[in-house]
């Protein structure tokens, strides 16, 4: 796993986050309390002199881990976050594609409409998934959340000044260039508070966090950020190997993203 220059990554992300706030009227960010979106909030604090200037949305299906809820309360207080909890319904009979698609995406649609958000900061990374690797830094979703991936607009250099079609919203991806190991190196360097589920407990830890229904931990003895970095240097498995959603069938991520999933 390639370790990139953290200062360079950091500056690019700060630029993109600032640009989003300059460019759009009503920006919000998704916050899953995972390592990536928490890192993004740390970057936003740097970009805006210690304060996250936009609301953060938790799509809450009610079945996240207790540690995740506790971490949410802890950091919201510590960083004075403007937290919006968007409740999504969970139906016991559906899982995976239908669960993330129907429940989470629907809840997101509702909250965007209600608050009239025109841009949404989402902390996806290119190295997570080959379909996410096809994304732009700023990417349009129409009012039905559709991602027109077969005809994405041009995006050159750091130019985000083109106009946006009205009616939909823009997904902003400030962490697109970061690798998993860069996130952990940055967490270490900046001492960013992190959800305890990432650290080993009884020989297991979560490498990628979803809800209790569809995330399974990996075997690991990594109890500290340093341990995790060391583990990632050696790993041959995929970051999202513990995510049921990705395994169901081919092209699940593509179908989910095309329909507006994050």
């Amino acid at each position: 796993m390639i370790e990139q220059d953290l200062d360079e990554l950091e500056e690019r992300s700060i630029y993109i986050i600032r640009e989003a706030v300059q460019k759009f009227k009503n920006v919000a960010a998704l916050w899953s309390m995972g390592k990536d979106s928490t890192t993004m909030l740390a970057l936003a604090r740097k970009a805006f002199l210690g304060k996250v200037p936009f609301p953060v949305i938790h799509i809450d299906n009610g079945i996240d881990f207790p540690e995740t809820y506790a971490f949410r309360e802890f950091l919201t207080k510590k960083w004075h976050l403007n937290l919006i909890v968007a409740k999504s319904e969970i139906k016991p009979e559906i899982s995976g594609f239908s669960c993330c698609g129907a429940n989470k995406t629907e809840a997101l649609k509702k909250v965007l409409k209600e608050h009239k958000f025109d841009a949404l900061i989402v902390s996806i990374r290119r190295d997570e998934h080959a379909v996410r690797a096809k994304e732009r830094y700023m990417s349009y979703r129409d009012k039905n959340f559709k991602w027109n991936y077969k005809n994405q607009p041009a995006e050159l250099w750091d130019d985000y000044s083109s106009k946006i079609d009205s009616g939909g919203h823009i997904r902003v991806h400030p962490l697109l260039d970061w690798n998993e190991i860069d996130i952990w190196r940055y967490i270490k360097r900046e001492q960013i508070p992190i959800n305890p589920l990432y650290f080993s407990h009884n020989g297991y830890r979560f490498r990628s966090l979803g809800c209790t229904h569809c995330t399974v931990p990996i075997k690991s003895n990594a109890k500290t950020v340093d341990d995790i970095i060391a583990e990632l240097k050696e790993t041959k498995t995929e970051e999202r190997s513990g995510r049921e959603q990705d395994k169901e069938k081919e092209y699940v991520m593509q179908r989910l993203r095309a329909l507006g999933y994050m």
């Binding site: 390639i2 220059d5 970009a47 190295d127 995929e238 092209y251």
Partner: protein, 409 residues
């Protein structure tokens, strides 16, 4: 660690994605899960294993064995990190090609030696485009050598044909390295192929490694340039924000805002949320500024008080531009310094066919134009040859990407 960004260019079906796919496999940079997925899909589609499927992740790309949009993948070789940028070769997808290529610092041209393929319009056009994007390093891999019996003659034929084009297009080509490969069969990608003993050079990845190891003189100009992005609130105060593109900016210093030539005093200065005395190239700043700061600073430049010696200002500028599809003469928006400015062509000097390098008598789709661009308002800029970031722009019309260009003077 510094990541070298390599864009693969060339016509469709010449093997760009296959080359990257096999480089990832050979350097063990891909997980078993992703490799198995690509194998499984290849089988389902009734094809031999397609290494390109490691990049082409969309269902539609795989079904039609054709890259639609740009993507990137990383690998380590020896002590160097590479990011390979894959782009589509199809003429209709040129906006995606330009989008991907705009982030690269090296271009690797993949051109097929197979009968009926070879040096085509798109091959040459991609070279033209990367050249205009300021990518000065070009390496050529002559692919599909297996289909011509690994013959040196076929290799030389492609080499000579391309050489002629380079000359015609006015490119420096004497130091371009040509490497014969078979991407699918993994010949000459990392290990020297024993099927082409006549080739005395290095295999592909080794050549890339040697080339990126050579230090290029990082072009810089004298003086400070800060591109302003807007303002943010700090309590009840407004701070300006921007990015240092050149030189450095100091707290408690006087600077000049361009293009309006207003003196501005910078007091407190912040980088990454922390108060600093000085900010350097590449850093995003926030600053307390007093004086003639514009109410809409976006797109303006802060420079030293002898500003006119650092950046130029003007509303009629000489440019070279490329139209991605059909050409325009007016009703264009120039996206420059993160701002959109209305513009039109005036005094077209020459028109060049990007597919041949020939001069044309009038504008047409995908042509290169040397012209004066007339803008609706003054801008601060530098020549592209001096500072890339302040000399390149994209063109839009009705929110649609129509091309890009460089400021010549």
């Amino acid at each position: 660690m510094l990541v070298n960004k390599i864009v693969l260019i060339g016509d469709k079906d010449n093997g760009k994605s296959t080359t990257i796919g096999n480089l990832l496999i050979l350097t063990k940079s891909i997980s078993d899960a992703r490799l198995n997925e690509a194998k499984k899909i290849s089988m389902q589609l009734g094809r031999k294993f397609e290494p390109g499927f490691l990049l082409d992740s969309f269902f539609e790309e795989r079904k039609n064995a054709m890259t639609i949009d740009t993507t990137r993948a990383e690998l380590m070789y020896k002590n160097a990190a590479f990011e390979f940028i894959d782009v589509p070769g199809h003429k209709t997808l040129i906006k995606n090609m330009i989008s991907g290529a705009s982030y690269a610092n090296v271009a690797l041209l993949i051109v097929s030696a197979k009968k009926g393929e070879g040096v085509k319009a798109q091959t040459k056009r991609h070279v033209f485009i990367t050249n205009m994007l300021g990518i000065n390093k070009l390496i050529v891999a002559v692919n599909k050598m297996d289909t011509v019996g690994y013959s040196q003659e076929a290799f030389e034929a492609v080499k000579s044909k391309l050489g002629k084009f380079f000359e015609k297009a006015g490119m420096q080509n004497s130091n371009v390295v040509f490497i014969p490969i078979s991407a699918y069969n993994q010949e000459n990608l990392i290990k020297k192929s024993d099927k082409m003993k006549w080739y005395k050079g290095r295999p592909l990845l080794e050549e890339l490694y040697q080339q990126v190891k050579q230090k290029t003189s990082d072009k810089s100009i004298n003086g400070t340039i800060v591109l302003l992005q807007g303002t943010i609130n700090k309590g009840s105060d407004k701070l300006i924000i921007g990015k240092v593109l050149n030189g450095s900016v100091k707290a408690n210093s006087t600077m000049m805002q361009m293009p309006d030539r207003k003196k501005v005093k910078i007091r407190m200065l912040f980088v990454k949320g922390v108060r600093v005395k000085e900010a350097v190239r590449g850093e995003n700043i926030a600053a307390e500024a007093i004086g003639g700061i514009s109410s809409e600073p976006k797109g303006k430049i802060l420079t030293d008080t002898n500003g006119v010696e650092v950046v130029k200002t003007g509303k009629e500028i000489k440019v070279r531009l490329l139209f991605a599809e059909k050409p325009y003469t007016k009703n264009m928006m120039m996206n420059f310094n993160n701002k959109s400015i209305a513009c039109k062509l005036s005094r077209v000097q020459q028109v060049i066919d990007s597919a041949t390098g020939n001069r044309l008598s009038k504008l047409k789709a995908l042509c290169v134009v040397d012209s004066v661009l007339k803008l609706d308002e003054y801008i601060a800029y530098t020549e592209f040859s001096k500072l890339k970031e302040l000399g390149e722009f994209a063109l839009y019309s009705k929110n649609k990407f129509i091309g890009f260009g460089n400021i010549v003077e």
